[in-house]
Amino acid sequence: MRLLNLAAFCFVITSALFLYGLNYETRRLEADVMAHERAVQKARSDISVLKAERGHLSRPERIDPLARRLGLAPPTIEQLPTSESLADLQDPAIHAPGR
């Protein structure tokens, strides 16, 4: 009977310690989850800012004059080959060895 009591007492102590540890572990994990959630939130916010910045930098209003300053322009019809002109094309490079 005494042995049984002792065993029960030990069990109570260990389970109390275990629960105590578990409680702390849970709190730590909760803090971890919150930190991660904050990081996700921050990353989302950063992504939206970066997306907006990319959109702002690549807006045609800005790219157009920059491209023109570099000598670029909308393609003209002379630059666009038609199927007939492609058929006529005899590119020697196609038949060059080592390709």
Partner: protein
């Protein structure tokens, strides 16, 4: 004791109070006897009654607690959030290729707590060094009310400004992160996008559509939307080209305004839509200015000769005439007190084809008279020109129809006067004409990639296919023919077809002297029309380049040519060599 328990439980449950009443009355009904036995019995009964009452009372209280706990939670949380305005979390808006047009950003909003503010004047003074455009008197008045705990000072400030305010170190100032709508492309497609109010709620254009479609979620904190972006039919590249060419045209011909639209004839998708003077979606107050209204969908205009497209199409579709039918157009037409003449009289009978290429008022007037009001009305009705039309960006201005459909109205309508429609509605009607006669419903949202796969709206034929082909041929001829009014719109390789329109601008009580709307309606490639452009210039002036002329053939047509030369390669239209097109 009975009474106390009774009042405690009173109102909690009826059964309980009834029971205890019965108890009390049971006690009183006992005959009063001086024997000890009955006294003991009374004591016992009283004890029992007490226990039952206590149990009942506790039961009632715990029951009530349970009910309260279950039911009143939402009310409590709402009360806590009440002083803070509800804001909306919105999905992104992207163009047809996924390029960003509008997005939500987290931005700090500055507010003050008047109860904590120590020195009102110092706060206002110092704050105005960082935010110079603040209304000082207004802020002072708001801060002087010590009963208030919350006063917005500026919503959506930049992080740099927020840091500066923070550095002032003033007590009572605080920040809240809010969502703020940003338009990275600036004013691009401002009229289509619309705008949002300070709570991030859509108030016009596509932004309003997002709200009405239920895609904007009310939030209490800055929570970015996780919804899929709203994909528009617009193409940023085409939109920019259109805006750029319209601006050039407006400057070159000293016009007071300009507008244009590019439409995919096969799907009804609006690829670009612009109106000048433009609006900035980030500044909603701009759109309230009357000169900045959306001239493509938000205004109706008498469009002039471009309307002859529909009169001729009606004549061909109703079998009134063939392209080769000759009409004697030498005599002017009488319409009431007015005499209808041609701008350049040919001095000989003209075929229907020539009536189109010469843009003969008399010729189209005669065709409209031959058809009569009923058939004219039915034809315009089939093309959905007589009823209000709408897209996702909102309802277009309703067409203004003549009061009566008599001889005079019929003649003037045949060449585009006396009936005012929104340019986008007109463009959609003509798109139907070129879509092989199958109805085109204009849309601002990207439809599925494969044309005509939309099963919700089955293809609806309204015009005969032969009419569509004949009209395409007429349009092309008007550009290639040396005497055609649209010859300045030709772009080598892209088979452009088009029609000019120079309409007198309506003003109060008549038409304005020398003020016109010149427009050019074009489609390409004309062997299988795929894209439609409609360009309008408002009040263009005669310049050296145009030889002092204001007609569409000298201004709107070359603007269209520049536009198509830019957008056709973007849209992947295969060019033909110049030799092959002739």
């Amino acid at each position: 004791m009975h009474q106390v328990v009774d009042t405690m439980s009173d109102g909690a449950t009826n059964t309980n109070s009834d029971l205890s009443h019965r108890d009390v009355s049971g006690v009183q009904e006992q005959p009063i006897m001086a024997s000890a036995q009955s006294y003991v019995r009374r004591e016992k009964l009283a004890h029992l009654g007490l226990i039952v009452s206590v149990v009942m009372a506790f039961g009632a209280i715990s029951g009530q607690l349970l009910l309260l706990g279950l039911s009143s939670q939402p009310t409590i949380s709402l009360a806590a959030a009440e002083p803070i305005a509800t804001s909306f979390s919105r999905p992104d808006i992207v163009d047809r290729n996924g390029r960003l047009l509008a997005t939500d950003l987290e931005a700090p909003s500055l507010f003050a707590d008047p109860a904590i503010v120590l020195d009102r004047d110092e706060l206002v003074e110092k704050l105005s060094t960082v935010l110079p455009d603040i209304n000082q008197a207004d802020l002072r008045a708001q801060l002087s009310d010590k009963n208030r705990r919350f006063v917005w000072i500026r919503r959506g400030v930049s992080p740099a400004i927020a840091q500066k305010v923070h550095n002032l170190g003033l007590p009572g100032l605080s920040f809240r992160t809010e969502l703020h709508r940003a338009y990275p492309a600036g004013e691009l497609a401002g009229h289509v996008l619309g705008s949002v109010n300070v709570d991030n709620k859509g108030i016009s254009g596509i932004e309003k559509f997002i709200d009405s479609a239920g895609a904007a979620d009310p939030v209490h904190s800055a929570t970015l939307s996780t919804r899929t972006p709203v994909r528009l039919s617009l193409d940023i590249g085409v939109q920019h080209a259109l805006e750029n060419e319209l601006e050039n045209g407006q400057r070159r011909y000293r016009a007071s305004g300009a507008a244009g639209v590019v439409l995919d004839i096969k799907t009804g998708e609006v690829l670009a839509s612009a109106s000048f003077p433009s609006v900035d979606p980030a500044r909603p107050e701009m759109a309230t200015s009357p000169v900045r209204h959306d001239r493509i969908a938000g205004g109706t205009y008498e469009l002039g000769s471009v309307f002859k497209t529909l009169t001729i199409a009606m004549a061909l579709d109703e079998g009134i005439a063939k392209p080769s039918t000759m009409l004697d157009v030498r005599e002017p037409l009488q319409a009431g007190a007015h005499t209808i003449t041609d701008f350049h009289s040919a001095g000989r009978p003209l075929s229907v084809t020539e009536i189109f290429t010469h843009s003969s008022n008399v010729g189209t007037g005669m065709l409209a008279l031959q058809a009569g009001p009923e058939r004219m009305k039915a034809f315009l009705g089939k093309l959905e020109l007589l009823t209000p039309m709408k897209t996702e960006a909102g309802a277009m201005s309703a067409p203004q129809l003549p009061r009566a459909w008599e001889r005079a109205e019929l003649i003037t309508m045949s060449y585009g006067h006396g009936l005012a429609v929104a340019p986008l509605q007109f463009a959609a009607s003509v798109a139907t004409l070129f879509n092989g006669g199958i109805r085109v419903n204009p849309t601002m949202l990207r439809t599925s990639a494969a044309p005509n796969s939309d099963s919700a709206k089955p293809a609806q034929r309204v015009i005969a296919e032969t009419t569509s082909r004949q009209m395409a041929r007429l349009f092309r001829l008007n550009v290639t023919d040396t005497s055609g009014t649209g010859k300045r719109a030709d772009v080598p390789g892209y088979r452009v077809g088009g029609k000019t329109g120079t309409a007198d601008l309506a003003a109060r009580g008549g038409y304005q002297e020398k003020a016109v709307i010149s427009s050019f309606l074009a489609a390409f490639p004309m062997d299988n029309p795929r894209y439609l452009t409609f360009v309008l210039l408002f009040e263009p002036q005669g310049t050296q380049e145009t030889g002092g002329q204001r007609t569409a053939s000298t201004n709107a047509a070359p603007v269209t040519a520049d536009l198509i030369a830019r957008i056709a390669p973007q849209l992947g239209v295969t060019p033909q060599t110049i030799a092959a097109t002739q």
